[in-house]
């Protein structure tokens, strides 16, 4: 692995919140301290910008709940090993998510485990 160095520049700065490293929105709406596993069936895989979405139907005692799981752009995911064909409607998945703080059925997907044992990571 390549060695890395730091390039320093002297700057005039004041205390300010750090901006997000994300191109679109920050991760603040997701609760990373409340990670959660979902098991269900893919109902849609939106391979679109600015974010991909995996829709997963998860059985519950009151009926199935459709979760909207947001991920990185196809541009980023494709460089992390994903393809637009990585997930198919109807396949069973187990997904690690950071849920929405709002309590709505949504979150950021982190890892997607497919039935054949393949694991897809948001960040590879």
């Amino acid at each position: 692995m390549k060695k890395f160095w730091h390039v320093f520049g002297a700057l005039a700065v004041m205390a300010a919140p750090l901006p997000s490293a994300s191109a679109h929105h920050s991760f603040a709406m997701f609760d990373k301290s409340a990670e959660k596993w979902l098991e269900g069936t893919v109902t849609a895989f939106q391979w679109t910008n600015p974010h991909t979405f995996i829709q997963v139907s998860v059985p519950s005692s009151k009926g199935a709940v459709e979760w909207s799981l947001e991920g990185g752009s196809p541009n980023i995911l494709s460089r992390n090993g994903w393809k637009r064909t990585s997930l198919k409607v109807g396949e069973k998945v187990k997904v690690l998510i950071y849920p929405l703080r709002s309590g709505q059925p949504g979150g950021s997907f982190v890892e997607v485990h497919k039935a054949d044992g393949t694991v897809l990571y948001y960040h590879a």
Binding site: V13, S26, T48, A124
Partner: protein, 252 residues
């Protein structure tokens, strides 16, 4: 408001002693080494952990004039009307396009160097065949400005003016149409370049902003399409909520 001098760090590959075949040929596909995804890869991490909202170096920020401090505060109040995570689509423009988490391709053609950005398929044209900016009447305010460049040794020096006020400075700060950006672009080894950028704005900024951006060559990558307009489910609706964030009928 107290100003302080601090140190801003960018992480890049240690110069490996290699040299480019032609130090005045910047052509190729380049990626900012300090994006979130590239930083996680470098750290061998597959995800953000709690408390690690901001991976990577802090972006520089600067003191604003009182007038622009008011503009910043007003924009922040408007922004606060949106729900967490709600985000419109906007062209990043300069200088943000240079630190976006997507690659760019540099092309050399006679009299010109062109940067084609993956993000929003934006383009910067750097004119080497004129030494003056467009005359005032032709200098339409734009997201990426009017760039002219020349070589000082093996460093490409790019001077850009003619901006609109729709883009943000590092740290999300506003700027005026008087912003000027000077970039000094040079190889630090055979497949790494460094951009030293100085941003001044006599109307908005009390101090210049200086930032360094390091890009590695990615010969195996291709520039893909990226339009935020394609499927922005995070766009705010009339009430500021993420319009398409979740599916409404949650119980079947």
């Amino acid at each position: 408001m107290l100003a302080a001098t601090t140190v801003h760090a960018e992480v890049g590959p240690e110069p490996d002693g290699t040299q480019p075949a032609d130090p005045r040929d910047l052509s190729g596909i380049w990626m900012n080494d300090n994006t979130l995804d590239e930083t996680l890869k470098r750290l061998g991490k597959k995800r953000l952990d709690p408390g690690e909202e901001e991976v990577g170096p802090p972006r520089p920020t600067a003191r604003l004039t009182p007038e622009y401090e008011q503009i910043r505060a007003e924009r922040a109040r408007e922004r606060a009307k949106y729900a967490e995570g709600a985000e419109k689509c906007e062209w990043p423009g300069m200088p943000r396009i240079m630190t976006y988490p997507y690659p760019l391709e540099i092309l050399h053609t006679p009299g010109r160097i062109t940067m084609i950005f993956e993000a929003e398929s934006q383009v910067r044209r750097i004119f080497l065949d004129r030494s003056e900016h467009l005359p005032f009447d032709d200098l339409d305010p734009s997201y990426n400005g009017d760039s002219i460049g020349h070589w000082e040794g093996n460093t490409l020096v790019v001077d850009t003016i003619g901006f609109n006020d729709q883009t943000e400075l590092p740290g999300g700060l506003p700027h005026s149409d008087q912003m000027r950006i000077v970039e000094r672009i040079a190889y630090i080894d055979g497949d790494t370049i460094k951009v030293d950028m100085t941003i001044t704005d006599p109307v908005a900024l009390l101090d210049p902003i200086e930032q360094t951006i390091i890009y590695s060559k990615r010969p195996d990558w291709r520039i893909r399409e990226y339009s935020c307009m394609e499927n922005n489910r995070d766009a705010p609706d009339a009430s500021g909520e993420r319009a398409g964030g979740v599916v409404q009928q949650s119980i079947e």
